[in-house]
């Protein structure tokens, strides 16, 4: 018998791989105080708009320190319903089709736990957010990765989906625009995906956390396409568009039976999201749209700067249509993504994340977040250029 404490760790947790982000985080942490410019973050550089912070302070002053309904504050659910109708063209009833969660991460965890039986297969496009595959493993389901490619702007195609599909696939996990690639699908591509989902009777989890940060064209939610609302769990939150990552407020919308199933898990695991954060989120929805537009315009121009500079430098980079991530390839300069990220950090003190942290299809790419100031971005691009030129010699 093992004598270490590890013997008590559940097998499916013990076998869960370490996050590639975590390794890199520790490497960067060792360089603290060395003027590192980090393009490795997954959050806005903006502080939450003051009127939103003030709303939370007022809530505390008024003594709002108690539990809310398991589903979340009714006023917030009403505001979410209104917002989703206005911006995504899908109607959800505040009373039984919306649940407020602790970030989209919790909503996603609830969805996996509520809808996956052991052995069920979950399809997801990859490169993707780091938690998808581990979350699937934690509910004893099986992940089926569907590759996306730079040549398609990292859009998911129905052809790739069909090629990857096998009997037993029950759920399709979407994240459009995508972290880390910035790829998204236009309406025609989504219609083809929707048709495939109806054909194979797939339930869709659609994480649309970056939807407000769409720079070209308009964002279409798969839930708004014919016949899709009844088979889609729409996931969204406040972290990215409203610069509220630390508040941890997200929500899920869907058919009442599905939201009820998620609520069952949520009521025992979480009880409710923090009332103070919910009050802030309500203010954000009621009076925060101008802030969202201002921040989106800033990201748009930063994207143009970073993508243009990367391509000039020789790091081929498609222009991400949404999100605040650029996902250039390092293969053109003859380096692996890991050598590039580690070398760039050590020699020029710029942190980017190796693409393989987001799955094996991120091979040969790095993720660079452009949610940082122009001043920093300009200096970071100059340092990257110096590093690339040095590596070529």
């Amino acid at each position: 018998m093992s004598t270490t404490s590890n013997r008590w760790v559940a097998r499916h947790v013990a076998t869960l791989p370490r996050s590639g982000i975590r390794d890199f985080f520790e490497l960067v942490a060792k360089m603290k105080g060395q003027d590192v410019i980090s393009l490795g973050v997954g959050e806005p550089d903006f502080t939450t708009p003051w009127h939103v912070r003030k709303a939370a302070i007022t809530a505390l002053e008024e003594g709002k320190t108690y539990y809310t309904s398991n589903l979340g504050m009714p006023e917030l659910r009403k505001a979410v319903s209104h917002y989703v109708t206005e911006h995504f063209g899908v109607n959800y009833r505040p009373d039984d089709q919306i649940i407020i969660t602790v970030g989209v991460s919790e909503a996603l965890d609830l969805a996996f736990r509520a809808f996956c039986n052991p052995g069920d297969k979950v399809m997801y496009h990859q490169p993707c957010y780091v938690s998808y595959h581990p979350s699937i493993s934690l509910v004893h389901a099986e992940g089926v990765a569907v590759p996306t490619y730079a040549k398609d702007g990292f859009a998911l195609t129905a052809e790739a989906l069909r090629a990857a599909w096998t009997p037993g696939c029950k759920i399709l996990m979407l994240n459009l625009p995508c972290n880390p690639t910035g790829g998204t699908c236009d309406r025609a591509q989504l219609e083809a995906i929707a048709a495939f989902c109806r054909e194979k009777d797939l339930l869709v989890f659609s994480d649309e956390i970056y939807s407000e940060l769409t720079f070209e064209g308009t964002h279409t939610s798969i839930a708004s396409l014919p016949g899709m609302q009844e088979r889609t769990v729409f996931l969204h939150g406040f972290s990215k568009a409203f610069a509220m990552t630390g508040w941890r407020i997200g929500y899920a919308c869907g058919p009442a039976e599905l939201i009820d199933a998620m609520m069952k898990v949520h009521q025992y695991a979480m009880m409710c999201a923090s009332i103070i954060a919910q009050e802030g989120a309500l203010e954000a929805l009621q009076r925060g749209w101008d802030n969202v537009c201002e921040m989106r315009d800033q990201y748009h121009r930063r994207r143009d700067l970073v993508v243009r500079r990367f391509n000039e430098i020789g790091l081929t980079c498609h222009s991400p249509r949404g999100s605040f991530y650029a996902f250039p390839t390092t293969t053109g300069i003859g380096m692996s993504e890991k050598d590039f990220a580690v070398g760039l950090l050590k020699e020029e003190r710029v942190a980017v994340v190796p693409g393989t942290a987001f799955g094996e299809n991120g091979l040969g790419h790095v993720r660079a977040c452009f949610a940082t100031s122009y001043e920093q971005l300009v200096v970071a691009c100059d340092r990257i250029e110096r590093f690339v030129n040095g590596a070529r010699k």
Partner: protein, 162 residues
Amino acid sequence: MNPVLKLLLEGGRLTTAQMAQVAGLSVAEVEQHLEQLKKDKIFLGWRPVLDLSRDAAAGAAVRAVIEVKLTPERGGGFNRMAERLCQFDEVESCHLMSGSYDLLVFVNAPTLQKAAAFVSEKLSTFGGVLSTSTHFLLRSYKEGGFRLDDGEGSGDRLNVSP
């Protein structure tokens, strides 16, 4: 809008070369835009934003805001008088206001005595000035868009996150 003007409005601390990178222009083009803005009298010049309270010598300077009531001049209205007032080196900025007084004048002086002398000897004796009301600045919290305390607590942000 002129792309350089847009960057200037955002109040960033960009050099000309950095503005060129951000706006996707050459340095020469940015300089041309700046020249044009100067010709159009939109861009008047650069000034640093300083927190002088942190420097013992410079921090001794006095700043005051003066509300000035005027009798408008025949033919020149308030403009000619305001332009004359602006000739004083002590006047940092000067604005025509709606409401109960006419001009709001920001004044800088090295000592309290000099600020007082400016008001009593130069300003109040100026032809057309009906009355003045002087307010001395005690402490500044925000200047030119910058907060003067230690800023917001973003120093603990993670360097790498998913």
